[in-house]
Each structure stands twice: as C-alpha cells, then as structure tokens.
Amino acid sequence: MIAVEGVSKQFGDYTALDNVSIEVPDGSLTALLGPSGSGKSTLLRIIGGLESADSGRVVINGQDATNVQPQKREIGFVFQHYAAFKHMTVRDNVAFGLTIRKQPKQQVADRVDELLSVVGLAGYAKRYPSQLSGGQRQRMALARALAVEPRVLLLDEPFGALDAKVRAELREWLRRLHDEVHVTTLLVTHDQEEAMSISDHIAVMDNARIEQFGDPRELYDAPSNAFVMGFLGPVSRLGDRLVRPHDIALAAEVEEGALEAMVSRVIHLGFEVRVELMLTSGEAVTAQVTRTEADELELNQGDIVWLRSAGATVLPAPAEPPASAAPADPPAADAALPPRAA
C-alpha cells in the first residue's frame, strides 16, 4: 500500500501540491487523473523519490519512505518519454536493475527472457531502443521496471507520447498485465477515458489538491463537485442544476417540473443523437438521446419540447463567471419559467 499523508510542495511561488493525502490500496491499479498543472505528476515523483516534499509523509508498505533515496525505495518508475538507455540493447536495458544488484549472470538472463516474453518483445533482445516503435519502447521500459520486482509501480503518463490506436491497445494490455502481476500500481493520466477503462480507483486532482477519490463508476455517478463531474464526462446545465446530457429526458407534451426549450439543432451520431436546445431563458443545453427516442419524438429544428432531468447525477450549478453570465440570464427571465422539479 502507498500512503501519502499531508504532502505539500512549492516550486517558488507556485503551489504544486497543497496538503495532499491519498491511500492506494494493495494490489490495485489506481489512476491520478487531472488536467495539466494539477500536481498529479509531482505527487507521483514525490512517491518515487524523484522530488522531495516540503512537508508531509510518504509511506510505502508500512515503511516511512519520506527521506529514502529513490534507489532504496524498491519502486518501478515508467516515464512518459520512455527514458530508454539509448546506448544499451533491449536486453541490457531490461537487465539493468539486476546487473546493478550483481545477480548471477544466468539468473539475470533467464529473468530477462521471461520478462521480454511477458511484454511481447522476445525477438527484440538484441535491438537498440532507436530500432523500436514508441509502443515497443514503453513495453521495454515496463519490463525494465518490473525486472527488479518493485513493491509499487509508478507510471507517469505512460501512453501520453503514443498515437491514439497504440495507446488504446497498450491500455488494455497494461490492464491484463496488472491482472497477472498484481503489483500495486499508480498511474498518472489526463485522459479520463484511460482512467475509467483500466483503473480500480481514481483520484481526481485539480489545483494542487485531490478533489475526489473513488472507483470509476462512483465518480461518474456521484461526483462531489462540478469540476469532477465535468472532468469525468459531458455536462449540461439545466436551469440551476448540472446534469449529464444522457440524463435529460425530452417530452413533446408539457410535464410537471419540466423546462420549455426549442430545438436548435439535431445531430445524428449513429446510435446516439445529440440535440442542441435553447431554453426560454436563452441558455443553450445539450441533450443526448437514443435514435429510437429521437424518432418517436420526430425532432426537428424549431420544435418546442419539455426537458426534465431523469438521472441520479445532479449537482447544483455553480455561479457562472460574470463574463459569460451577463448577457444570458437576466433575473426577469427566471420568473417566466415553470417551477422546477424538487
């Protein structure tokens, strides 16, 4: 288990981490998710010992590691840009940690062969990193990190430098690998889809703090604030509430508690249909319905429909920043709206 207790970090005037605490459960694959500059990489590097915390503690498997050198932390670290040892072959890269520990040659060779086949690079042992693709280099880096049997595996945007297709493949591959190896893994990413698809738990970070920690479904269905809700999926503002676009129900007839809106555009995206609407207050709202629903309603531009939030994920909308709020919702318009649902 990795436990971070009240860690803060300043870079000059810039606060990278502000009293952050997190517990990464044993054997789990946990994601640190957040926009760039949210402090997620700094947190990972502090856990790995590549940065030092200004205050707070890092505990790895029950031992205080706060002041322990990175080489003594028994961690595996994977970098966004691979950090491959360019002057060494794939074999020597993977063997590095074992060679440093002066293990017997035959033992090292066997372990490297085993790892290379695990990461699917069995035929590449004699190549140099420059002769590998990005995805292969990252798999080599993972094998290198796993070779020393680390207590925890730390991945810093491991797929960030790869193209979308390779990224999706490697993501699946990493999840399967984790299910086999079971090493406690902490992965930094800014890609919510990546976090949702492979991790057991997600810590959402913003502005040097952890906003929420939970499993992917929990975060999606019960976000603790507007930021988490917006970062994990699309959000529509319906009156004074935030809802998911697929949680907006459309009806052709007046319903109690529903808001009146005019259809401004209907976009067909295969099975899904995105409906852009305009409330009587002048606010724009996006709803997402299935094709069947859209066909039943016979939605056309200019139609009047009634909107109601049908899902469980609802948050009160934060006050909009003055700049965008000024033209759109004059207080008088509110009075003209039907009363909102409880």
Binding site: Q71, H87, M88
Partner: protein, 270 residues
C-alpha cells in the same frame, strides 16, 4: 536558397580557392620543402637529441594536460548543464576566458603568479618546486589554453540528453557513481571524445603561452613548437621544416581521429 548554375560554380571556386590559398598550399609547401633533400636528412633532423627531447616533452605535457582537462571539463559541464546555483552565468563566461585572452598574456600572468618574484613563486621555490622555466609551468600554460574544449563540447550534449535516463537508473537501484559510469558517460562519450581530440590538437600546437613560461632551455624545456621557432630564427630552415612536418603529421592524425568520430556522432543523434 536557389542559386543559378554559374553562380553556384563561382561560389564553389571562391570557397575552394580561399581554402587552398590559406591552408592547403602552405601545408603542402612545408611537406615539399621537408622532403626536398631526401628522407635521410629529415630523419637526421628529427632524431637529434634536442628534437627527441622536444617531442617527448610535448607528448608528456599533453598526456598530463588533456586528462586533467577532460575530468575538469566533464565535472564543469555537469554543473553548467544540470546545476542550479548563483553565478552560473559568470562561470559560463569565465570558461571562455582562455579563448578570449591572448596566449602570451596567459604566459605572462603565470609568470607573475608562479615566477620567483610572483605571489606563490617564493614559497614554492622554498619547498623545492620550480614552476616557471620548468615542466610544471609548461603544463599549467597548456592546461590553461586548452581548458574550454571538453566543457564546450560536453555541455550541449548533456543538455540534449536530459536527466531522465539518470532518474530511471536511480529508480532501478543505481547509485550516483553507477549512474555516472553506466548511463551518463556512455551517453556523452562522443562529445567527450571530440573535446579530447580538440584539446590534444591545441595542447600539441600551443606556442605563445608556453614560449613565455618555458625559458626555452634546449633539451629540457623546449617543446616541438618552440624547437620549430628556434631553428627558424637560427636560419636552420631544413630543420624547421622537418620539425614542422612532424607537428603537421600529428595534427593530421588528430584530424583523422576527429572525422572518424563525427559520423558516429551523427549516427547516434537520430
């Protein structure tokens, strides 16, 4: 840039002509004049006791100065590329001082500091160490003039390589020493080699600073360049040409080493 054909040929002729007039012709003439009276005369001229002593002294001085500057250069380059400290800009400018100051001035400065009437000269002399008009002075002067090469070659390479590989090595259990020998040094090796070659060339060819501090005692503190100058001033032209040819051969060998390093460097950079 697109240039019409006649222009292109004209530019090429000018470029090559410049090179030929200023570099190739003089060097070729030296070799021509050297071997004008047969190889036997040349051999006699470069195997006199004074010549052999000058040749050995030059190699000795180079063998001391270059390794010291290589170690210093790598340490300094790591500070300049990675370190965060006050006065880094000043230090960076100071490294170039030997390029900026005339070697003669460097020689004089060394005499002022280490000469018998200099700052440390008296106490060093009392301890039985003679710096000026002796080998240590020549070594100091040579170190001074060839100091920037390794630093200047290695610093940009270190910056380009970055420190991520070293961080990776650290997380894999390597201590600072292991990380330096196994990761840092191999990744800057071509930069170091290039800097060493340039330092060697400069050390062997240095004249001005060495001329001031050596005292030019034949057979004792006379380097190869000083020998050439002495023979030339004594109207021993054949002897001067022979010694020059020897210097030129050493220079060409280092140049050859440099061109052999270059393609390998470029190969690594893709």
């Amino acid at each position: 840039m697109t240039v019409s054909r006649p222009w292109r040929i004209a530019l090429r002729v000018i470029g090559l002509g410049y090179l030929a007039a200023l570099l190739l012709v003089p060097v070729a003439v030296i070799f021509y004049r050297t071997f004008e009276h047969g190889i036997g005369a040349v051999w006699d001229s470069i195997t006199t006791p004074a010549a052999i002593s000058a040749f050995t002294l030059t190699l000795e001085v180079t063998a001391i100065a270059v390794p010291l500057n290589t170690i210093f250069g790598i340490v300094m380059a790591m500070q300049l590329a990675r370190g965060r400290f006050r006065g880094k800009t000043l230090l960076n400018a100071l490294i170039d001082l030997p390029f900026a100051i005339s070697p003669v001035v460097i020689g004089l400065a060394l005499v002022l500091v280490y000469g018998l009437n200099g700052w440390f000269g008296r106490s060093l002399a009392d301890a039985g160490i003679q710096v000026i008009f002796s080998t240590p002075g020549i070594v100091l002067a040579t170190i001074f003039v060839s100091l920037p090469f390794v630093v200047r070659e290695v610093t940009p390479v270190l910056k380009e390589v970055g420190d991520e590989q070293e961080q990776a090595a650290a997380t894999l259990g390597a201590n600072a020493w292991q990380s330096f020998w196994r990761i840092t040094l191999p990744s800057i090796r071509w930069g170091v080699a290039y800097g060493v070659v340039l330092s060697v060339a400069r050390s062997i060819g240095e004249f001005g600073a060495v001329s001031v501090v050596s005292g030019k005692i034949s057979g004792e503190t006379e380097t190869l360049t000083l020998l050439v100058e002495k023979r030339f001033s004594n109207f021993d032209l054949a002897g001067a040409y022979a010694a020059s040819a020897l210097l030129a051969v050493i220079a060409l060998v280092t140049l050859l080493a440099m061109t052999m390093i270059k393609p390998r460097r470029e190969e690594e950079e893709h």
